[in-house]
């Protein structure tokens, strides 16, 4: 037995993937607008008030939602708080490292957070218990277990599903005291649905849901968050090369189509 070698030889892979794209193909046989198989399970962690496991192809993540009582921000005294955190734990890929979140991890959680927040997914006003004093803070923790590309879409899909799965204890103000009843659980108030759709640009073509080797050779990336009503709630370009305006507008258009299909993976109601 010998020490395992680094397996990727990027230049060769790059040429092969680029040639495939030139002829309208991808290494796993998908079309440019086709996602890998998606498996979504919710309610898998009993100790989390909401949870989801998402597999997009070989990419696998878990999301847990935990409500905590806290104080609202002083400039928004009557709304609850949604906090999103992600960790690219070293389990998920040979180049992920222990330690505080790096810039990729920070970007992932911030983009997910903006997508959920700006779409108005959770009715945060209903999470206010006592104005200016007590609100629910919902912590979304995105745990990356297996990384084979396209974390953005997986994180948003998992977060959306975990929030829809979340139940919080009933909290009431009685005689100036906040009474939290852990026996009476109510679903988190979900107002909107939003998902994210990511394209990689390879040889000038945009292909949806890039797997890892496509990400490794892509020129640029664009992730578009969209609500069920077709409005854009988040967008983030990535990668070291530019995109042109047409490519962006085309990506938006394609996202509208793809998101409709993606939405079908979500449960019908939150439960």
């Amino acid at each position: 037995m010998v020490i395992k070698m680094v397996k990727i030889i990027p230049e060769i892979i790059k040429e092969s993937l680029t040639n495939l794209v030139k002829s309208g193909e991808r290494s796993d046989g998908r079309t440019f607008d086709e996602y890998r198989d998606i498996v979504l399970e919710t309610g898998i962690i009993d100790k989390a008030e909401g949870s989801a496991r998402v597999k997009i192809g070989k990419t696998q993540i878990m999301v847990g939602a935990k409500p905590q009582l806290g104080e609202p921000f002083s400039d928004t005294p009557n709304v609850g708080v949604l906090m999103t955190n992600s960790e690219l734990i070293p389990m998920a890929a040979p180049d992920f490292e222990s330690g505080p979140p790096d810039e990729r991890s920070v970007e992932l959680s911030r983009v997910t957070d903006r997508c959920m927040r700006e779409a108005g997914v959770v009715d945060l006003e209903k999470l206010c218990i006592v104005e200016g004093k007590k609100v629910w803070m919902v912590f979304l923790d995105i745990h990356i277990l297996d990384y084979d590309g396209n974390l953005m879409d997986a994180a948003v899909l998992g977060s959306m599903a975990a929030l829809m799965n979340t139940k919080i204890p009933e909290a009431k103000l009685e005689n100036d005291e906040v009474v939290v009843d852990h026996e009476k659980l109510v679903p988190l108030p979900i107002k909107e649905k939003a998902l994210m759709c990511t394209f990689a640009k390879i040889d000038g073509e945009l292909i949806v849901d890039p797997q890892l080797e496509e990400e490794q050779v892509m020129e640029a990336r664009i992730s578009i968050g969209m609500r069920a009503d077709g409005s854009i709630c988040a967008m983030q370009k990535g990668g070291m090369k530019p995109l042109n305006k047409d490519e962006i507008l085309k990506a938006v258009q394609r996202t509208s189509e793809i998101t409709k299909k993606l939405m079908e993976h979500l449960p019908q109601n939150n439960h």
Binding site: M1, K47, S98
Partner: protein, 242 residues
Amino acid sequence: MITIIINKDFKPKSKPSKRADGRAFDELRPFKIEAGVLERADGSAYLELGGNKVMVAVYGPRELHIRRLMQPDRAVLRCRYNMAPFSVDDRKRPGPDRRSVEISKITSEAIMPAVFLEKFPRSTIDVFIEILEAEGGTRCAGITAASVALADAGVPMRDLVVACAAGKTDGEVILDLSEAEDKDGEADVPVAIMPRTGEITLLQSDGNLTTEEFEKALNLSIDGCMELSKAQKEAIVKRYGD
């Protein structure tokens, strides 16, 4: 490809008990072990034991980039025990705390005796243990799953280390304390063994025990280990065949 050993038909094989979940004093919680559950890792395993859900990834043997850790005559074994923020009742802040630092250390020491580290000088073998849900006994669950993940990674080993705890609740020495039993319990004795020789690679004791009670707990833990050991081997057989 994936091996599942569900312990559904588990039945009490000894005298009745007063345990909340109806287990006998020498009875493990239901468990299952799977090997090869992750794609990127060189080896992986998933274990459930009662409410515990544990995932382990192994990377290596691979090049060690931190020169001052490098050993000229053997591989370094680095274990990282980590709890997911959502794995416990009150959200755990991400990042290592003192408890996880200690558990990471003793987990390394528990596994190390079984691994042929001398075959891979100047390299590292990394074991990442993620507690996805915690319900008492996670350190032992992590060690048991880690051995399966190491085997799945093809790391040559003398034996498959396996771990299990016994403890004392309501004055009685019992096997494999649940979270509730641990919280109200008087003592907890986690043990890891190499089942071929019975040698002990992890031993802690937390709580008050007479020397007789301690010996009883130690024996009970070892019995539990032997039972889990079978499930480890079946998981590997299911993954690779005989």
